[in-house]
């Protein structure tokens, strides 16, 4: 069971590195995050300076001034990058007919879907790990709230996993990688923005929309609050995405 999932994940994870995809995505991510981090730092030190030397404005903690905007921004960056990571997962298998190899191998569809998900997830894990230097430097040199750091990282990982689930689904729906990527982005963005609609809708409808929104569940994480309701929401979101992918793959065989 686990071995089969790993067989799938292993090949796909490696193939990220035999094509330019991984290098471009990781390099792009590191450059953008580095730029954002320095921007946030500059902004933070400016505000601190204004506060301590000129007694203007309000003071900010490292937690509020650096950690929260850092991971808030990282979520947006992943919204743009995940489609590039997931678009090929099934689309390419269909295009080069290797899907026939997968579907005539003694592995179940569930194992196949989980393996695909895992390969993209591992790449995300690598990317998040590469940016751990920022919170580590801050933890060593300053006093950010460790709960918020942990919550933000876990929340980012869960939120990004939802984008991956959406990406896996759209990749199974078309042979065309560009279409798969574009639909992944549009759909992820939709679930992001639902909370705006929630604000204007108000009432029960607003509550429902807010509950559906990917980003509103991130708020608690960024306060260092890890609640089972939020974790459960993200896990259900991932489950639904992967379950639908399973149905799509099953339907290939009937066509």
């Amino acid at each position: 069971m686990i071995r089969n999932i790993w067989t799938i994940a292993r090949r796909d994870f490696r193939s990220y590195f035999t094509s330019p995809v991984a290098y471009i995505v990781i390099a792009g991510f590191m450059v953008v995050m580095g730029w954002m981090f320095s921007y946030i730092l500059r902004d933070f030190s400016l505000r601190m300076m204004q506060y301590t030397q000129m007694n203007m404005g309000k003071g900010v903690s490292i937690t509020d001034g650096i950690i929260r905007p850092l991971y808030g921004n990282m979520n947006v960056v992943f919204l743009f990058l995940v489609p590039f990571i997931t678009m090929r997962l099934f689309a390419e298998e269909r295009k080069q007919n290797t899907i026939e190899l997968l579907l005539t191998s003694p592995i179940s569809l569930a194992q196949l879907v989980l393996g695909k998900f895992l390969s993209a997830w591992l790449l995300i894990l690598v990317m998040i790990a590469l940016t751990l230097t920022y919170p580590i430097v801050l933890l060593v040199s300053g006093n950010p709230d460790p709960g918020t750091v942990a919550g933000s990282i876990l929340g980012t990982l869960l939120l990004t996993s939802c984008y991956i689930a959406v990406g896996v689904l759209f990749s199974s729906l078309t042979e065309n990688q560009i279409v798969a990527g574009a639909l992944t982005f549009a759909t992820s963005l939709f679930f992001w923005l639902v909370s705006w609609a929630a604000g204007s809708a108000g009432g029960v409808a607003g509550d429902v929309l807010n509950h559906l929104s990917l980003i509103s569940h991130f708020n608690n994480f960024s306060q260092g609050l890890i609640t089972s309701a939020d974790v459960l929401y993200y896990l259900s979101f991932i489950f639904v995405g992967l379950f639908l992918t399973h149905r799509v793959l099953d339907s290939y065989r009937w066509r």
């Binding site: 067989t7 193939s15 035999t18 007919n97 899907i99 190899l101 997968l102 065989r253």
Partner: protein, 309 residues
């Protein structure tokens, strides 16, 4: 080893496979012969567990294709019409991946790779990128992939399609070398393929079986009487007239350069060839050669599939 019973596959309103029933015995190499669109690929996809049939049953390697599909997949090697290759991988890595997919025991993987590389003569190319290989080489990688778990049953969909003559000969002799060790079912729309590699042929057209037999029986049943080749040193017209009168001879026609002739007997009268040879010797025609020519399978095939339409 393979049992198919009343197998039917419909794509929407279109019937691709129509009530097929046949059997393949252990160690046999069976050719699945039919024109394009006959339903060959559809049947093979069903037998390999890729897709379910609309009606009917099939067992492969003693497992039911529909209810025990994982078991079937463990015992079958499948080469689809388009070989399923990852072009960005090296031959060796690709085979390693397929071995893992087919759940070859960890300790046996390297040995299996060496074995199939040897069988398909790809040893020198094990480190090459599949994307850089010629079409014939890729087809061999496809075969190596199908062989990696040493399956009891091999299903090969048009294994030589699109190859040049040299590559075709290579692949055919490779398939022949598999005989006995594996039960093989291969599809093709080219006749010589069947004569070159198979023990038995199943002719299919528009989803239906139109004939299934050993190649010899098929030739005898559907050939227009047996044909012989006759070569003479001094064929005088009078002598030839005499030969034409031998009982059972239907016709004697010159074949090209004048010294060789095609002798056709009336169906069932082939035994009279003794008389013919005796007559040729008596007439001092200088008998050089007398040999059986098989009625062309090509003709039979055409006849079979046009009868039906």
């Amino acid at each position: 080893m393979i049992q198919v019973s009343h197998l039917t596959k419909r794509y929407g309103p279109r019937t691709a496979v129509d009530d097929l029933t046949f059997e393949v015995k252990k160690g046999e190499v069976v050719g699945f012969l039919g024109p394009n669109g006959a339903g060959k690929s559809s049947t093979m996809k069903i037998l390999s567990g890729f897709m379910p049939a609309t009606e009917g049953t099939a067992t492969v390697a003693d497992f039911d294709v529909f209810t025990q599909s994982l078991e079937v997949k463990r015992n079958v090697g499948f080469l689809p019409e388009t070989p399923p290759l990852y072009l960005e991988m090296q031959v060796e890595d690709y085979l390693d991946h397929v071995a893992r997919l087919k759940q070859v025991a960890k300790g046996d993987i390297n040995k299996s790779i060496d074995t199939v590389l040897e069988k398909t003569s790809l040893g020198d190319s094990r480190r090459r990128l599949i994307g850089n290989l010629s079409k014939g080489m890729r087809q061999r990688v496809g075969l190596a992939q199908a062989l990696i778990n040493n399956p009891r049953v091999l299903i090969l969909d048009e294994p030589t399609v699109g190859l040049d003559p040299r590559q075709i000969i290579d692949i055919r002799s490779l398939i022949k070398s598999l005989k006995g060790e594996h039960t093989v079912i291969l599809s093709t729309h080219i006749l010589p393929e069947v004569t070159a590699t198979c023990d038995r042929v199943i002719v299919i057209n528009r989803g239906k079986i139109v004939a299934q037999d050993s190649i010899d029986t098929l030739t005898q049943k559907h050939g227009e009487g047996t044909v012989f080749k006759l070569a003479l040193r001094n064929p005088s017209p009078a002598g030839l007239e005499y030969l034409r009168k031998v009982q059972g001879v239907e016709s004697i026609a010159a074949n090209g350069t004048g010294n060789t002739f095609i002798v056709k007997f009336v169906k069932g009268a082939e035994a009279n060839r003794d008389q013919l040879v005796t007559a040729a010797v008596q007439q001092n025609l200088g008998l050089l050669e007398f040999s059986a020519e098989r009625a062309s399978l090509e003709d039979i095939f055409l006849k079979l599939i046009t009868q039906e339409t």
